[in-house]
Symmetry: C2
Subunit: 340 residues, 2 copies
């Protein structure tokens, strides 16, 4: 079984985006009634999924995608807490409908209602709703709701603890995933995403978060940002800063996906990172949608890179399935309940 | 000949740091006379260099280091324009003294007097002084003088053009190098440095800077940040954004050093990046000073990683010497003038 731990609903029906636009337009007119999500039929959802994610799952041979709202559209820096909350609920409700239509192919991962300066405790209720009522198995946590100004405290700060307590209680991991950038220095998918991954990892080295939450689990997407390429730097920095070795500290709780869009990058990832810390992911249909002229295949068809690795079959099974079932115990329980 | 393109005077005599402290303390007392650099004898400089950089050059077998002031101490976010200017001049004057004491072993690369919100045109005079009067061969340009708040325009913005014009006129390249971070999210050497490298590269993809300045040259340090590991992503993004292919655009003007502190990272770098774009660098004595327990050698002894590569000797000569002489024509001229 092949589980893709990183997929976003980047192809949602147009009515969904129209709701968002109305919502943001309403900010300029305080007397306007609040925008409400437009009607979206099951057929519209089917069309957007079957032509895209489901088609690619079949083409590329993956079985189930951990599916969350489009990351770049979370837009936590836009509007205010009420706007972010309404947009987040609509997004998560839409994911739930996809999962209900294709329960074999998707499992839900939720967006959170974050806003700069708003306590993260205010995000707990939506996590609880998504996990307990909608049967979601994980969440995406934005370390920078300001969208590229980095005004929140580091992820190891007690600011975030109320949310971590709920994650631990519910047994759900979080993928650390920023949204769009409103800082012109940072291209969203070319700089902001990768920088956030690298930044989060270094915060975990410096902090004592996993002493306080030994069962907390994070996925750092996009292959861990710059980290595996600079693995010697991070091992050396942990040593210089008198922090525990990476394998006995951060890597007990942190996992990288395989959203690295060329063979040499995946080769490096598997060479330096323990197999138990790698989860298959593609982020399709996502940041990089073209065909690599060097291979004739899609850049984000990451299964090919794993298939090409000269590692034991059992290791590939861990990357493709077993690690994800360990990191997402609620997913494992759902699969087990239907005999998978 | 082995040229290390990336070394900072991280071991400067204590009097130098005392000047800086007095300078910053003076900010709190507007009536205090401006701090002045303390006296530093040639013997003090000799001691700090011979025990550190010169000793390591000999041990590791490199010949000449492109030497600049300590990057993390540039502190462009501290004080004001006058403070930054005085500190920068003192730093560059100290580098000049090192070069004069050991002209075979060091060539000068200058810090610039930058401050958030201050036009970059104000940095031109110090570049000119360092190149024309002190015979420096390059400079370090900080893309984020705010120290982690990223308040300047992207490097492709016309904001920076007055400085680029002078770089082109003087035939000197710039290493893109941030300083310390005053944003608690970003550890300086573990996140801010690497993020800045990645960010700069993506800005160059998006912009048309090298159309306007076809001979402008930048070194992106720390192995190009996350870029080589995500080379497929950047090739794919260039394609998606309808930008020219990397090898016909950005990589005509941008070079990566080898400050990647483990063999797998260097193997990847050389596998995906054209040999002509790679300059040997170690950043010793710098960010990571310990010994790698996996190899028994210093993490930043990057020569060992190049030596271990299974590539033709001629390619290693390009990485070690020829590329640096091409990117730094003033260095080449100095070496040629003394028959090297």
């Amino acid at each position: 079984m092949i589980i893709d731990c990183h997929g976003h609903y980047t192809t949602a029906p147009a009515a969904h985006q129209k709701f968002r636009e109305a919502q943001l337009a309403g900010l300029k007119d305080p007397d306007a009634p609040p925008a409400r999500p437009g009607a979206i039929s099951d057929d519209e959802i089917r069309e957007t999924i079957e032509k895209n994610q489901l088609r690619l799952q079949k083409q590329r041979g993956s079985d189930l995608t951990l599916f969350s709202p489009r990351a770049s559209a979370m837009g936590h820096h836009l509007g205010n807490e009420a706007i972010s909350s309404a947009w987040t609920q609509a997004n998560n409700d839409l994911i739930k409908r996809v999962v209900d239509l294709y329960p074999e192919n998707f499992a839900g991962v939720c967006q959170l209602p974050q806003s700069p300066g708003v306590p993260i405790a205010n995000s707990v209720a939506e996590l609880e709703r998504c996990v307990r009522e909608l049967n979601f198995v994980g969440c995406n946590l934005n370390p920078d709701p300001s969208g590229g100004h980095w005004t929140s405290p580091p992820l190891t700060d007690r600011h975030w603890y109320p949310f971590y307590e709920k994650m631990v209680e519910l047994e759900v991991p979080a993928m650390i995933h920023v949204s769009a950038s409103c800082n012109p220095n940072f291209h969203a998918t070319g700089a902001h995403y990768i920088n956030a991954d690298t930044t989060a990892f270094m915060q975990f080295i410096e902090g004592d978060l996993f002493r306080d939450f030994p069962t907390l689990r994070f996925i750092i997407p996009h292959g861990g940002g710059a980290v595996p390429y600079h693995w010697g730097r991070y091992r050396g920095l942990a040593d210089m800063l008198k922090r525990p070795a990476l394998e006995t500290h951060v890597m007990k709780n942190v996992f990288f996906d395989t959203c690295v869009y060329h063979q040499p990058g995946i080769d490096l990832l598997v060479r330096v990172i323990d197999i138990g810390n790698i989860l298959f992911g593609s982020e399709m249909v996502g940041a990089v949608r073209g065909i690599d002229p060097q291979t004739g295949h899609h850049f984000d068809d990451t299964r090919r890179y794993i298939d090409a690795l000269l590692i034991p079959r059992a290791d590939k099974e861990r990357i493709f399935e077993k690690n994800a079932r360990r990191v997402f115990p609620r997913l494992d329980a759902q699969l087990a309940a239907r005999g998978q």
